[in-house]
Amino acid sequence: MKAAIRHMLRNRRRSILTLLAVLIPIYFLIVMFGFINSMVQDMFESSTRFDTGHMQIRAVETRATGSAMPLMNDPADALAALATVEGIEWATVRLDLPAMASVGERTRTVFVRGVVPEEINPISNMADRIVTGEFLTSDSTGVLVGEELADLLELEVGDDMVLLGAHPEASLGAIRSPIVGVFKAHEATIGRMLVYASLGTARQLARNDTAATAIVIRVDGVVGPQDAALMDQKATALRAALPDGFEVQDWLDLLPVMDGYMKILTPMLLIMAVVFFGLGALVVVNTLYLSVMERTREIGLIIALGASRMRVMRMVLAEAGIITLAGAFYGALLGVGIILIVEAFGGIPLWGQMADYMKEIGISPVLHMSITAWQVILSAGAMAVVAMLAAWLPALRASKLEPMEAMRYVE
């Protein structure tokens, strides 16, 4: 071991090159993980916050309801069951209804989303998306429309809109509601389709005082998709507690796009890791090979003195091991250090159109970075294993040297 360290110190430049070959891929991978983690978390958070939650309780579909969600006549039993499950951060009842919206002679098919404004306020950014007018209150009889729908129906705040409920499981209800606000949707389709109302107003439209289509739930301690196990655990507990007629939809059911994104992301990260690690491994093989070549006579002498092949291999691998461990350690330290520094300064703010776009889709215009201990261990560990495998080749060559030929070797 002592000899291995001295060899490294004797050939500082080559040792540093080998160290960098291990360090740089780990550093890049950790930084990449840092950005991607944060982006995924942002996307997950913006989707699950209010829109889908981490899971939902819904009525079991007993007959085809088209694009409408099955109606639960009374969510009280489901709410009681939910109260028995620990670790639920937040839940709210929602009623989504297909409806016809008419203003004068103009009519559009819309979705009315009945919410409890006071409950969604703490976690939703809906209030921030109001362009004109104001956000809903529970006792409000008014509705919010998207900018696109307002344009199509030529509506302004204060105008009235007639809504005709069209849920296949509900009675036909009709209400006249004033427009209390216009919101900016993060997608034009949503802006054209979605009308927000208080839960009471939506229930009037369904002509059912207790109707709901979903109980939207957020689980305590969930930060991103990496907490899938925790969400699954709560979903399982909830399924066991729920009476017949209700079902639980988890985040994978609710966010198929997110699931698809995760499925693309994993192989993408893997490909990048393979490229980084492959390049690192090539440098490790090269530098160690060079080191073995330069020390051919010395290795020949060691074999001549009676060192076994295994001993010679161990000697070369020990040197590679020390450099690899140092590279892995400093690579991880540097990667984590950068993430900590970026976060200490509050992230990297985006500017211009990119920042505006991020804001529009409900994602923070500041790039954050985050990393888990497992990702650090995985990045450093995988590179260390690759480097040691790469070191195997020069070690094998060293062990196979014929002592006399090696001692006659001239550089």
Binding site: R6, L301, A304, L305, A307, R309, E402, M404, M407
Partner: protein, 233 residues
Amino acid sequence: MSNSPLIRTLDLEKTYITETIKTPALRGVSVELHKGEFTAVAGPSGSGKSTLLHLLGGLDRPTAGEIYLEGTAMSGLSKDQLAKLRLTNIGFVFQAYNLIPVLTVLENTAFVLELQGIVRGERIKRAKKILGELGIDQYADQYPHRISGGEQQRVAVARAVVSDPSIVLADEPTANLDTAMSHDLIDLMRRLNSEKGATFFFATHDNRLLDRVNRLVTLVDGRIAKDEVRDAA
């Protein structure tokens, strides 16, 4: 001196084969070396001295014939078995590039003991003792490039004898040394031979050394031309 030979070779042949040329280096060499001998093999360049030494040391394999080291036939041994045999039975002194540059004199001396798996305390003790006996203990913490060629060869001798091998094989050990250094080194090896009973076998054409051996085997064209026992001091 015991009658049972330490090393016995039987019709030893070695031919170096390149793509187009076959060069016979040894042609049927049969020789016995006994414990406590201070023997040299001499002969002109290309006579097969070094080849014989390397074959005896298990550093190379003969084309034909057999070598017995303390009764063990070496031809049947694997590379690792040969390495173990070298480690436990043979000490080597080479003409040049004898020491490991990243190890100190003490560590170089103790290196063979380390390979043998002897615990650190014990190997340091033994290495220091032999360095003291050879008068080079003051260089214990020096690296090889800090000491002279003669001192480096002394360290090589120390390393060769530190594990009490059956025989020390030395290939032109004085070739790179000036006269004074050569005499010093030869005196040292003679002292180890007479006081500790160490067995030495040299491949050399250096008369300064040849004059001091008890037995001289002369090789000519890969054959033993003469094998004479002499009085030497």
